[in-house]
C-alpha cells in the first residue's frame, strides 16, 4: 500500500481523505486517493479530489497563440473549455489566460514539457503558473450536482442552462472558484478549481451541501474507469466516422 507521505508532493486533503477511508496509489511524483463508493454514487452525486493530477496555467497577452503553437486545441473564447486529444482540457479563463488539465491517467509529460520548455526570453508574452499548487482540483459528478451547487453558488448550473464545456469563474461557498462543466459517460460532471490553501474548508462545504442528496466521496479509480470508457467510445465514434461504410 502506498504511503502518500512518502512522496514529496502531497494533496492538501491527504489527512481528510485518510479519515474518510482512502487508500492510495502512486501517480507520478505523488499519490492519489481511491475511496470505495457504490457504483450508483456516480449517477447521483459523487465528489472526488483530483488535486494530485497534473495541471498548469499560462497567463499573458500572447497565451492563446503560444498554446496553439504548442498544439493545444484552443480559441480565444473566455469561459469556454476545449477537450484535448487523449483527454484533458484547456480552460480559457480570459483572452490571455488558460489552465491545462491533464487527463485522468495523470500523465503530465506534456505539461512538464510545456513548463520546462518555456523561456522568459522567448518574448511570447505568456507566463506559466503553478496551478498544481495554487488550486485544489475537485470533480463533482452526478445528476444532483447542479442542485448541490445551488446551495453554495449563485450561478445557474442546471444542465439545460450551463452547457457542457462552459466555465464559471465565481464564488462558491464564499471562495473564489473556477467551475467547468465537462460531462463524462453521459453524466453531468463538473471540475472545480479552488484555492489550495482552503481545500479542506471547501471539501467540508461540498460534503455538507451534498449530504441532502446522498452525495458521497469517491476516488480517482471510479472516475478514471468512466472516463476511459468514454474515451474508448469517442475513439470508436471517431473511427466509424472516417472508415468507409
Amino acid at each position: 500500500m502506498t504511503d502518500p507521505a512518502s512522496h514529496l508532493r502531497r494533496s492538501p486533503l491527504r489527512r481528510a481523505l485518510e479519515t474518510a477511508g482512502a487508500t492510495w496509489r502512486d501517480l507520478g511524483d505523488t499519490a492519489i486517493a481511491d475511496i470505495a463508493a457504490p457504483a450508483s454514487a456516480i449517477q447521483t452525486l459523487a465528489i472526488a479530489d483530483l488535486s494530485p493530477l497534473p495541471r498548469l496555467g499560462f497567463k499573458g497577452r500572447g497565451t492563446i497563440d503560444a498554446m496553439k503553437k504548442r498544439g493545444v486545441i484552443v480559441e480565444a473564447t473566455p469561459n469556454k473549455a476545449f477537450r484535448q486529444p487523449g483527454g484533458g482540457l484547456c480552460l480559457v479563463l480570459a483572452p490571455g489566460e488558460v489552465i491545462l488539465l491533464s487527463n485522468m491517467t495523470g500523465n503530465g509529460a506534456k505539461l512538464d514539457e510545456m513548463h520546462d520548455g518555456w523561456k522568459l526570453d522567448d518574448a511570447e508574452r505568456t507566463y506559466p503558473l503553478l496551478r498544481n499548487d495554487s488550486h485544489a482540483w475537485f470533480r463533482i459528478v452526478g445528476a444532483k450536482s447542479p442542485a448541490m451547487f445551488a446551495k453554495i453558488c449563485g450561478v445557474d448550473l442546471r444542465a439545460d442552462k450551463f452547457n457542457d464545456l462552459s466555465i464559471a469563474q465565481t464564488s462558491v461557498a464564499k471562495l473564489s472558484a473556477i467551475i467547468v462543466r465537462a460531462d463524462i459517460g453521459g453524466l453531468v460532471a463538473f471540475h472545480v478549481l479552488a484555492d489550495s490553501a482552503s481545500a479542506l474548508y471547501f471539501l467540508d462545504c461540498l460534503r455538507d451541501a451534498a449530504q441532502e442528496f446522498g452525495g458521497q466521496l469517491t476516488g480517482h479509480k471510479m472516475l478514471q474507469d468512466v472516463e476511459t470508457h468514454e474515451e474508448t467510445r469517442r475513439h470508436r465514434i471517431g473511427q466509424a466516422a472516417i472508415e468507409p461504410t
Binding site: L8, G60, Y127, D133, A173
Partner: protein, 970 residues
Amino acid sequence: MSSPSSSRIDKPGFGLLIDRTKPLTFSFDKRIFNGYQGDVIASALYAQGQTLLSRSFKYHRPRGALTMAGHDANTLVQVAEEPNARADRYVLSNGLAVKSLNWLGSLENDLYSAMGLFSRFLPVGFYYKTFYWPNGVWKYFETPIRVMAGLGKLEPRAQHKYYDKEYLFTDVLVVGGGPAGLEAAIAAAEGGADTLLIEEWAQLGGSLLHGRLGGSRDAADARRAELISKARSLTNLRVMTSTTVSGLFSDNWAAAISCNRLYKIRTKQTIVAAGSFDQPLVFHNNDKPGIMFADAAQRLMRLYGVKPGSRAVVATSNRFGYEAALDLLDAGVDVAAIVDLNTASDGTAAGAVRARGVRIISNSTLFEAKGGNRVESIGVSKITGTGQTSGTLDWISCDLVVMSVGFAPALNLASHAGAKVVYDDTINMHRAKALPEGLAVTGTAANIWSEDAVRADARAAGTRAAALAQGKPAPDATAIGDAEATVVTHPYPIFKSAKGKDFIDFDEDLQVKDIVNTIKDGYDDIQLVKRYSTAGFGPSQGRHTNLNTIRIVGKETGKALEKIGTTTYRPPLVPEKFAHMAGRAFEPVRLTAMHGRHVELGAQMMPAGLWMRPAYYGDRGNPAKSIAAEVKAVRENAGIIDVSTLGGLDIRGPDAAAFVDRMYTWTYEKQPVGRARYVVMTDMSGVIIDDGVACRLHDRHFYVTATTSAVDQVYRAMTWFNAQWKMDVDVANVTAAYAGVNLAGPKAREIVQKLDSNIDFSKDAFPYMGVRTGQIAGIPVRILRVGFVGEAGYEIHCPSGMGEALWDKLMEAGQPFGLKPFGVEAQRILRLEKGHVIVGQDTDGLTNPHEANMEWVLAKKKPFYVGKRSIDMLAAKGITRKLVGFSVPNSSAPVPKDCHLVIRNSQIVGRITSVVKSPTLGKSVGLAYLPPDMCETGQRFQIRSDNGVLVDAEVVPIPFYDPDNKRQEI
C-alpha cells in the same frame, strides 16, 4: 385531556388538510390537548374549545384567531425554544410544548389586563412624553416596562439548528398558488417559459381551498382540481408549496423562505398573485375572541374540519359574508343573523342564505360586542351616515362573529419591487400602478375578483411574461377592468365608540381615538401618523390597519384618500429569522501545507486573516515558557517558522523592473539578478500600505513578497495600475502556489547544508540579501537570505504541494542542531528586538514613511512612484509624530502594552505600537509614536500603563539587538 373532536365537523368537504386517522398530542400552557396530523396549533385548540390564544401587547386584552392565515399577532405563542410562533400556521406535531404569551397569573386571568383600566393614561405617543421627567426616572420605569412589554422569550440556551440557503433560477416566477396564480403559471409554462410557482400554503388553490366559486363549493373544488391537474402536467412548471416569498428586490431578485431554508431566486419576470387581505369592521370590543374574518372561519371549517363557534352573526358588505354564512350552515353552525352594511343585500348569495331561514339585517352594522374571554352577544345598530349609527342597539346572542366588509390588495411585494400604490375611490381600495419592468400583478391583488376576469387577466399576464422572458414579441399589458371590484369593499367600515376599545390595530392596541389624537397632535402626514401612533408597526405589518388608518386620516383632515398616500411596504413580508439570513455560515479558512505538522507538534493555532498560524508550540498552560524557549532556540541554535501565509507575486515581462520601480518607493531598475531588496508600498495619499522583499530572479522577473493580510490589496493595486500604464508586464498572485519557511539562527547554514542541493550556501556565494533558485532534497525552491528575526536565515519558498515535505526534510536535518519550530509570538519578539516594523501594527491608516522613520526607503531621484507626490508634500508640510525605539530603564517596572499612551504634562502625545519584555535583552523595549521634539536619543517620556501607572521610558536607537547586524550577515 380535552376531546380531539368536540368541535370537529364530521362531514365530507371539511378538514381537507387533516388526517383523522393520525391523532397527535400536545400541550398548551401545560394542559394536554389532542389534534390530528395536518392541524395547526390554533385549529387543534379551537377544536377543543380553547378559543383564547393570547393576550394583547398593551392592554393585555384576550385575543383569539383573526385570520387563520398567520397574518396577525393574535395567535403568537411560544413553541418550546421558538418565540413568537404563529399558532394559526404552525403545523402540529406530537409532543409539541406550546405556551401562551404576555400574561401575569394565567392566560384566562391575566393580572396585567388591569392595564386596560388605565388606558386613558396611556394615550397615543405616551412613550414620547412620559418616563423622562424628573431627570433620571427612566431607569425605574425601564425594568417593569421591559417585563410587561415584548411577547415571546428568547432562550439563550437554545440549541443551534441547521439553516441554509439555496439559489433558484427561473424565467417566470409566480407568487401565489390561488386561482389567478395557477392560471398565470400555467399560461407562462404553456408559453414555453421555465416557470416557478410559489405558494405559502401546503396545498395549492388559495381561496379555492376554503371559499366558493360562483357561490358553489363544488365548483371551487372542481376548478381547483382542474388547475392543479393542468399544472402538474407541465414539465417546465415547478411548484413549491409551504414557501413564502418574503421580498422582491431590484434586478429581479426574490427571497423566499421554506422551513429552515432561504431561497434566493433570480427571475426574468415576476407575477404577483398574492390575493388580498381582509379588513376589519371597527366597533366597540371588535377584538374579542370569537370575532374573526370570514375566510378565517372558512379555513377552520374547510381546512381543519373545526366549527369556529356554535351560533354566529355575520357582518358583511359583499358576497363573501353570505358565502361564509352558507358554509357555516353546511357545517352545522347556527347563523343567528347576517348584518349587511349595505342597503341592498347581494342578490344571489343573499337569496341562498335567506332561503335557509337566516335573518338578514340591512343597512346596519355591529356597534358593540359583549363578553369576557369570548364574545357572548353583539349589538347591532342602523347606519345613519358615514361612520354614524342610530345608537339604538339590537342585541343578538352569539359566540362567533364573522366579518367580511372589504379587502386590501396584497401589494407588499409589488411595492418592494418599486410599484406605486395609490388609492382608487371607485373601488374603495388601493391599486398598483407604474409597475417596474419585469413585474405584473394579477388576481385580487390587481383588484380583479370575478371568475372570468381573473382567468382572462391571469392568463394574459402569464402569456406576456413568458414571451418577455424568452425575448419574444409580447402583447402590451392591458388592464382588464372588473365591475365586481366596486362592490367588495365598504368605503368606511369604522364606527367609533364613545367607550373606545374600537380597535384599528390589534397588534398595537390602537383605537380610533388614537389615530384621531395623532392628527390633533399635529402628525397628519400618513408617514408621521404611522410613526407617532405605531399603526402598522406590529407583526401584522399593517395588513389590517393601514386602510382604516388612512380612512380616519382622510375623515379628520378632509383630504381625499388618494392624496393621503400610503405608508411604505418594506421587506420582509413575513418574519425572517436571523438564522435564515445567516444560513449555513461560510467562513473560509486557509491552511498552509504544513498545517498538519504544526498540529501534530502541539501548536496552538491562531487566526491571521483567513489563515491559521501557529502562535507557539506547547501546552496552553504556560505559553510564556514555550515562547521563551522558541526565542532562545533561534538566538542560540536554529528555529523554523512557517511563513507560507506571506503574499507572493510574480512580476514578469520586459517592463518588470520599471513596473516594480513605479509600485514601490525605493529603486529597483538596477537591482542585480540574484539580489533581494526591501520594498515599501504607499497609496496615492502617501500612506504605507505594505512592505516586503523584491527578489530579482531574472532580468524580466521579480518575485515580490507581501504581508499576509495585504497581498490581495497589493495585487489589486498592481493590476489596477497596470491596466492604466499598459506596461509590458504580467502580474500574478502566487501566494497559494508557494509554501515557505524561515530557517533562522546561528546553525541555519549547517542545517541547510546537510540536505542535497545544487545551491552553494557558503557566505560568499550566497550573501545576505541574496536570492537563489534551485533544489533542496529534490524540491524546487526559491531561497532568500533575509533577516527578519535578526539571525542568519534562509527564507525558503517551494511549490505548496511540496511544503510539508520541505518541512519534514528540514526538521529531520535540523534535529542534531537543536532546531525548534517557532510560532508567531516568538517571531514578534525576535523582530522587535531587531527593531523591524510590522505594517498594520506599527503603522496605521494614516502613517507615511517620514513618520515611520523610513525616509531611507524613499528614492529621491526617481521621477515617480505611487504616492511620491503626496509624500513630498507631507514632508514639506512637516510631520507631527515619529516612530522611535524606546526602552524601559527600570527592569522592575511594569511592562507596558501595545497601544498604551505616551503622556506629557498630563496630555496624550503619542502611543506605543509594539512592546515586549525582551528575553534576550532582559528589559522592555518597543516602538512608539512621539512628537518630533521628543525623539532625540536619550530623551525620557512617560507611558501610562495599566491602572494609570506611569512608567518611565527612554528613546533609544534601533535595532535593540545586534545593532551592527553582524549576526544576520554571518
